[in-house]
């Protein structure tokens, strides 16, 4: 698709600051920012979008530079494609270290205040974290929305699965999901409407998926008195596959390929490259630039709205009108060069403000602006999945490193009455060998050379033998909301522009560790059924090492950030309402995973996207209310009146 960000679409600090007529100021160009911009512009609204990072990926050349950065980088972490940017830094994993009790690690952008250390990351660049996400798009299950009521764990949502279901469908269309609904209809799974199909057909299972299925099909596990039959099921994923002609009542679907400043024809189908994370080399994977491309096209259509993008613009302070609590503007530091802290500070204003910078940054911005909210919950209830890996060698070659990072998994333990006692999990069958756990295949070379004394053709054979038999299960474990897991700010930790950095403090609760312990046993059981030799080793020196009931585990972050501005039923128990609108600031929306009071065992992006549709309806209603009541913007002060109540709930 033709994403064209030319000078007429970009705005300047001067122009942005002087323009008082934006309907919405959106902070962030990730999935929420792009989808909300798309829905607003479709209805004729004017949007200013701030992106803290550079907009390199607007062209195929820039995007491919990121791909090259990743290929040539000796470390293959999730941020490998993106050059260091001290003005809009992002968390990076290679520098993490284990914390001793009471220690604080401020070596990386995200200050780790312990007791646990997380390698969770998010990206600050055009496209946000959709640049590096894996693109799995499972829906949450209905029970995930009421875990407090059902299991006495975490927090309930103010809305149900059924409330969100139609928006799930919209999100699946926008992101272009490939999936096989029939394989996902099972007891405890997410209910789909009768006859629903995804826009594209399911990705073909990898050879490894089939091998695992052959090993477990027909077997079951007992859990809390319940017999759970096992089988490998494909994940739905936002990657281009074969369009399903039955989609949309027989209208079918046209995949959206790469975006670019000029025409390219690229990325209409996934090619099975095994580096979805950190960057799809062909843009077959959805990233929010595809939605932005649609928004930018609308600029040319008379009945549609307009978007202006201000790049390298870091939102630094949300300014509040003390009279009515409305947001009066957002202070932005705009820099010209990532290598220099030189910047100018402007204030941008709109009728409504939408902060979409993912759970950690959104909380950081609000707290840095001195806005902890009536509930005091801004930054609290930080949620992320706890990841536990188990890995081994299959008896025969299993085709590791063939196919996308992950196509299928074991999903039947995502839900069940056992959730009263232990956390549910979803299992990924990784096609990229042991790489996420051991940095294979690089460490395999070291091991074979140093420990095995191999060289020449023997080394080559040894590598093939070892790498092509690597099986890894990644357990994605539910972590319920807990107020003490939180993001804070501290004036002693600032970035190059003087913005306060996020501080993260969290513990993996026992409930989740019980799930982790069960997951480990589960892996051993399945490995033995498959004849897989277990190579799993958790190192006490690893930053994620946790001891639970005498056993050590390495718990990793999931980059599935939720909970720092949770939605709820009133301003005392939550930060935003069911439309992601701030209880305290009537013209402010906080969109993203931070609104989610629970994330269950679903990768969160699809649910984040679905919420955008809900929120945009509320925003449009609010904007039209403002128009019909004749409320005006007081341009001289920049303060807005007329939004004194929630008119949308």
């Amino acid at each position: 698709m033709h994403l064209r960000i030319d000078p007429t679409r970009l705005t300047t600090p001067h122009e942005a600051a002087g323009d008082g007529n934006y309907d919405a100021v959106i902070v962030g160009s990730g999935v929420s920012g792009a989808m909300i911009a798309e829905q607003l512009c479709k209805e004729g609204k004017r949007v200013l979008m701030l992106e803290a990072g550079p907009i390199t990926s607007k062209s195929l050349r820039g995007y491919n530079d990121y791909v090259t950065n990743y290929f040539v980088s000796p470390g293959k972490d999730s941020q490998a494609p993106f050059p260091e940017n001290p003005n809009a830094p992002m968390p990076r994993t290679p520098l993490l270290r284990k914390l001793q009790p009471g220690q604080v690690d401020s070596n990386t952008y995200m200050v780790q205040t312990g007791p646990y250390v997380t390698d969770t990351v998010y990206s600050r660049t055009l496209g946000g974290t959709t640049m590096h996400w894996q693109a799995k798009t499972p829906r949450m299950v209905p029970e995930d929305f009421k875990t407090r009521t059902l299991y006495d764990q975490g927090l309930d949502w103010p809305i149900s699965y059924d409330d969100l279901e139609p928006d799930y469908q919209r999100a699946e269309r926008e992101m272009g999901v490939s999936g096989d609904v029939t394989a996902l209809r099972y007891p405890g799974g997410s209910p789909y409407p009768k006859d629903y199909v995804y826009p594209m057909k399911g990705m073909p299972p990898s050879y490894l998926d089939q091998m695992v299925n052959d090993g477990i099909e027909g077997t079951s596990v007992e859990l809390d008195g319940q017999t759970i039959p096992l089988q490998v099921r494909p994940f739905p994923q936002a990657r281009n596959g074969i369009p399903n002609e039955a989609y949309d009542g027989g209208k079918g679907y046209t995949p959206i390929g790469a975006v670019n400043t000029h025409q390219v024809d690229f990325g209409e189908r996934c090619q099975g490259n095994t580096n979805c994370v950190p960057i799809c080399p062909v843009q077959a994977k959805y990233w929010s630039g595809k939605t932005l491309a649609k928004v930018l096209r609308m600029n040319d259509e008379p009945d549609k709205g307009e978007i202006k993008i201000l790049p390298q613009a870091v939102a630094s302070k949300v300014e509040i009108n003390p009279e009515n609590g409305h947001v009066a503007g957002i202070q932005v530091k705009v820099y010209k060069n990532p290598d220099s802290p030189e910047h100018e500070t402007i204030t941008v204003r709109g009728k409504i403000y939408v902060i979409t910078t993912a759970a950690i940054e959104t909380a950081r911005l609000l707290l840095a602006s001195g806005l902890p909210s009536t509930s005091g919950l801004v930054g609290r209830n930080y949620i992320d999945h706890a990841y536990l890996f188990s890995w081994g060698l299959t008896p025969k070659i299993c085709g590791a490193y063939r196919g996308t990072d992950c196509i299928s998994g074991i999903l039947d333990l995502r839900n069940g009455p056992f959730r009263k006692h232990q956390a549910a999990f979803s299992v990924d069958i990784n096609n990229n060998g042991w790489s996420v756990a051991t940095s294979s295949p690089y460490t395999d070379v070291t091991a074979l050379v140093d420990d095995g004394n191999l060289f020449g053709s023997q080394l080559r054979r040894g590598l093939v033998d070892r790498v092509s038999r690597q099986l890894l299960f990644a357990f994605m474990i539910d972590v319920p909301a807990n107020e003490s897991n939180r993001v804070t700010v501290d004036p002693q930790y600032t970035d190059a522009l003087g913005n306060m950095r996020p501080n993260l403090s969290f513990t993996t609760p026992e409930y989740s560790m019980r799930g982790a312990a069960y997951a480990r046993q589960f892996a051993k059981t399945v490995f033995s059924r498959m004849g897989v030799i277990d190579y799993t080793q958790y190192s006490p020196s690893n930053f994620g090492y946790v001891v639970y009931e005498g056993e050590g585990y390495e718990i990793h972050g999931g980059c599935h950030l939720g909970g720092t501005h949770i939605m709820g039923t009133n301003k005392n128990n939550s930060v935003v309402d069911a439309n992601q609108r701030s209880w305290d600031h009537a013209n402010l929306y906080l969109a993203g995973g931070g609104s989610m009071p629970s994330i269950g065992t679903a990768n969160i992006t699809l649910t984040i996207a679905a919420l955008c549709y809900r929120s945009t309806r509320a925003m449009l209603k609010q904007l039209s209310f403002e128009t019909t009541t004749g409320a005006t913007i007081h341009k001289t002060t920049g303060y807005h009146h007329g939004f004194s109540r929630h008119c949308d709930t």
């Binding site: 074969i242 369009p243 000029h262």
Partner: protein, 369 residues
């Protein structure tokens, strides 16, 4: 009726098979140029060459659909399907040959000639009939090798006119020329490319639509009243203009006039290319050497690929996605094994795939016997 028209169903089948030969004949040239580019360099040129190559495969598949639609037989394994390089195209007898060569300025000029837009002349000017000199190997839709077309667009226009007339004649007799098995039609489910959907050809409308797609992707939008445009009616940029962007050093964007692109600049680093032996032959590599073996292996893989495609076009459609497309990815590695290595006694030039499929089959046949 014009004497150059394709008057019989048999002649139409010959033309359609020639269309497949023609679409395919460009692939070895495009692939060699593509993989001669040093990794990480010349991204713009790589992207353009890649998409054009993928679309040539699409065009070949459309030609197969057309041929299958009228009950013809598709066989890419027959002797002569892959030409001997250098080769002329049906429209190129006067001015150029296609070479297997690295990405060079002269290769780019050849690509532009391959994809040049329809010559806007009279019907009499458009089709030429003459005898091809004996020493020249040339693709021709006629068994006697006499009919040529000034451009590929002309060639397809002649095919289109023939479809229209032959179907009208058949309809007048209460029958149809579309007697092929619809289960042989390759659709988007089995192959995709940058632009243009693959749809089944089952009647005159779909046949005309398919032919127009090939013409427009190659040469640009053709309209009676307008000159050819940079973008086709689906908003896709034609091959000729894709390549012209490389010559002019700038991308076309919507609204640009031919010859005057206004998009982002393109830079080409002509030095970041492995210069390969032009029109290499197995005989250029020392027999028994690794290069010779690699070249032979490539040809074997390529012969297998053509056999797979033949099966896919003859009812086993699922082989397209399951085997033929993955094979195209394999070619990159197989060709790189040659292109990344200098060939001995070739004045520093690097090796390249020879695409001598018939010769390879002969060698293998002899070995078997």
């Amino acid at each position: 009726m014009d004497s150059h028209d394709i008057a019989t169903l048999e002649s139409l089948e010959e033309h359609l098979f020639s269309a497949m030969v023609l679409e395919h004949a460009t692939l070895p040239a495009y692939l060699t140029a593509l993989y001669s580019i040093k990794p990480g360099t010349n991204q713009d040129a790589s992207n353009i060459l890649r998409v054009v190559a993928v679309e040539e495969m699409l065009h070949m598949t459309i030609a197969a659909n057309l041929l299958n639609a009228i009950g013809g037989t598709v066989n890419l394994t027959q002797t002569g399907f892959v030409p001997s390089y250098p080769t002329y195209l049906p429209d190129s007898i006067d001015d150029f040959q296609i070479h297997i060569e690295a990405f060079t300025p002269s290769a780019l000029e050849t690509f532009l000639k391959i994809e040049r837009p329809v010559y806007l002349g009279t019907v009499q000017q458009r089709v030429v009939k003459r005898r091809i000199p004996n020493h020249v190997w040339c693709l021709s839709p006629n068994k006697d090798g006499t009919t040529q077309y000034t451009t590929i667009g002309e060639f397809y226009n002649a095919i289109k006119e023939s479809f229209i007339r032959l179907e009208a004649e058949a309809q007048a007799k209460g029958s149809t020329i579309f007697t092929g098995d619809p289960a042989f039609q390759i659709t988007s489910e089995y192959y995709y490319s940058g632009g243009g959907k693959l749809f089944p050809v089952t009647n005159l409308d779909s046949a005309v639509q398919a032919i127009d797609l090939v013409i427009e992707q190659g040469e640009g939008y053709v309209d009676e009243d307008k000159p050819t445009g940079v973008f086709d009616q689906y908003g896709e940029i034609a091959h000729f203009y894709r390549f012209e962007q490389l010559r002019l050093g700038r991308y076309y964007v919507r609204g640009d006039k031919p010859g005057f692109p206004t998009g982002p600049a393109i830079e080409i680093d002509w030095d970041a290319v492995y210069l390969t032996v032009v029109d290499p032959k197995l005989a250029d590599y020392p027999e028994g050497s690794e290069l010779y073996q690699a070249a032979l292996n490539f040809n074997i893989a390529y012969a297998q690929f053509l056999a797979l495609l033949t099966e896919a076009y003859n009812g086993k459609r699922e082989l397209m996605m399951r085997a033929a497309v993955p094979a195209m990815f394999d070619f990159r590695n197989l060709m790189n094994r040659l292109i990344r290595n200098p060939a001995p006694q070739q004045h520093g030039r690097h090796a390249a795939a020879t695409f001598e499929i018939d010769a390879t089959n002969a060698i293998l046949g002899t070995a078997k016997a």
